[in-house]
């Protein structure tokens, strides 16, 4: 059953067509990989889905609800969180405060109360422990290493308990040890029912982690399937993975 559906979405920047009628379906409870060469429209698609960009045409639905051109905060409130290719955290807030920004409260009256609620703190500390950042909870987030910032961004999406998480190049600039830890955490959350869509250039990471891989080319969906099917697809190998991967395969 699909949880997130993109139908004939188009987006242009002047003369450049970033999305040219892209249609895709992301399965619920799966770890979906989204690959394609640079400029194929992956990040633009993420931006349109998550409300950071408006689509020129087409439709995006989340659990059957139309979220086309909804604001980013509305999309997040509906249960779709995302990370960015270049990590975006709140550097002057502490690690714990970063997590509290993402915990949601209904109604403005609730917003007026202190952010230091015991229940939310407990939940935030649980997530920090999950990603191994507990000792840094009271430190300013700007002082963390790049890898730790990646984990923090992942953590503050997680703390809001979204049903879908879009991860934009989570492996970029992350050392192999940290990367294995990140993959383990993604699998653990996926077992709890969270659907993942992961844009990534690290093919080993994608093929080893994802249940299903979707390929984009020139703003459109090219193919989708199990990692081994995509890996074996000669068109994909030729056009998107390059000759190195073909030889490796």
């Amino acid at each position: 059953m699909s949880i997130l559906q993109v139908s004939d979405v188009r987006k242009s920047y002047g003369g450049i067509q970033a999305l040219a009628g892209c249609t895709m379906t992301f399965e619920e409870g799966a770890i979906n990989g989204l690959i394609g060469p640079n400029g194929s429209g992956k990040t633009t698609l993420f931006n349109v889905i998550s409300g950071y960009e408006t689509a020129d045409a087409g439709q995006v639905t989340l659990r059957g609800k139309d979220i086309t051109n909804a604001r980013a905060d509305q999309v997040f409130a509906l249960g779709l969180g995302r990370t960015f290719q270049i990590t975006r955290i709140f550097p002057r807030l502490t690690v714990l405060e970063n997590l509290h920004v993402a915990t949601q409260r209904r109604g403005f009256a609730a917003q007026l109360r202190s952010w230091k609620s015991a229940a939310e703190r407990s939940r935030a500390m649980e997530v920090l422990e999950f990603v191994g950042l507990t000792p840094l909870a009271e430190e300013p987030a700007g002082g963390l290493s790049y890898g730790q910032q990646k984990l923090l961004e992942f953590a503050f999406i997680t703390v809001a308990r979204p049903s879908v998480m879009l991860l934009d190049e989570p492996a970029g600039g992350v050392n192999p040890t940290l990367l294995r830890g990140l993959a383990d955490r993604i699998r653990a959350l996926n077992k709890e029912g969270i659907t993942f869509v992961i844009v990534e250039h690290d093919m080993e990471f994608v093929m080893g982690l994802c249940d299903r891989v979707l390929v984009m080319h020139q703003g459109c969906a090219l193919t989708a399937g199990a990692p081994e099917e995509v890996r074996a697809n000669p068109d994909v190998l030729e056009a998107y993975l390059g000759s190195d991967m073909r030889e490796a395969g």
Binding site: A72, R92, G142, Q148
Partner: protein
Amino acid sequence: MTAIDVTPTGAAAPEHIPYEPPRQIRWTGTGLLLVFLAVFPLLFPNPAVTSIAVITMIFLVAAIGWNIFSGYSGYISIGHAAYYGIGQYTVALLAMHAKVPAGWDTFGLLPVAGLVCAVAAVPIGYVVLRVRRHTFIILTVAVMFILQLLAFNLVSWTNGSGGLEMSFPTWQGSYFNEPFYYVGLVAAVVACAASWWVRRSKYGLGLLSIRDDEDRARGLGINAARTKLIAYAISAFFVGVAGGLYAPFIGSVYPQFGFDPTFDLAVAVLVFVGGIGTLSGPVIGALLLIPLQQYFYLQFGNANLYLIAYGVLFILILRLLPAGIAPSVTQLWRRVLVARRRAAARSRAVPALAVQSSAVQSSAVQSPAAGPPEAPPATAAVPQAGGDEVAR
């Protein structure tokens, strides 16, 4: 959620050293300051001094209000004089048309002036907050000048460039400043309480996240437009109250002094010097700089030399303490704390090393075939140079 194997994240976990002085020190300092401010007119009853104290209170309220929006959200407004002017005209017009007698009754108009400003801030904020950074600054200045022009031209309301005169209270000359001072102090305490509440609320955390990265904040469910607009209105409220207190103190309202472009520069300087985005920064800035500015004016006012003296002081403070006084003092306090902890760790490590070393020597004598000794565990407790310092 099930915790899984926690992989080391690369950097050694530092021993946490707080970034703020302990709560007892902060509350004691606040209490002492309040007591000092409460008895100030009794200690210095000279009207020339209390007059400076009233101006200080007015700017204190305005600076705290300005910081609630600009300090916490990162949107630097240079057009809050719009609300300073609206506050002045509201009090003057209401006093005139509602025939409010000069004196204590006039102070009852201050919340009304604040509310009028907060209400006016909603449509203005709705427009100007659609843009960011430099464009936002320019728009705020433009709004202020538009209102100044309206004040010049809506002659039937404002009497144009002729201004509005307000009756002075019939208080004795030596007692005249005290009511203004204490009302200003109460307004400043209320503004401080509001600023404190915003800083600790979930709403305020959203505001701070907007300061750091507005787009990221939106992607975490923060309704940025609404969050900024509310802060803008709260801020306008307190700046309006400051204006409302200024008008009866001076006894007149003129467009060029009500909607004064230098007002925002003065307020911004106070907050930057004290520490923008902090609770104590505007308080420190206003209590330090306004009396100094007034003193310089009295000493060198004739040839405008006071502006040069004030400018030199401002440059010196920003050169020596670029983050502002409050954050710099906090950083200094933390450095001292870090140095003390390092020294304590070293003093603990040295005896441990000595014990370890003698144990190794004796075991080497007893068993020459034993392998190399392990590194003494006590050394791990010594923080690496700079390793536990994280830029704030």
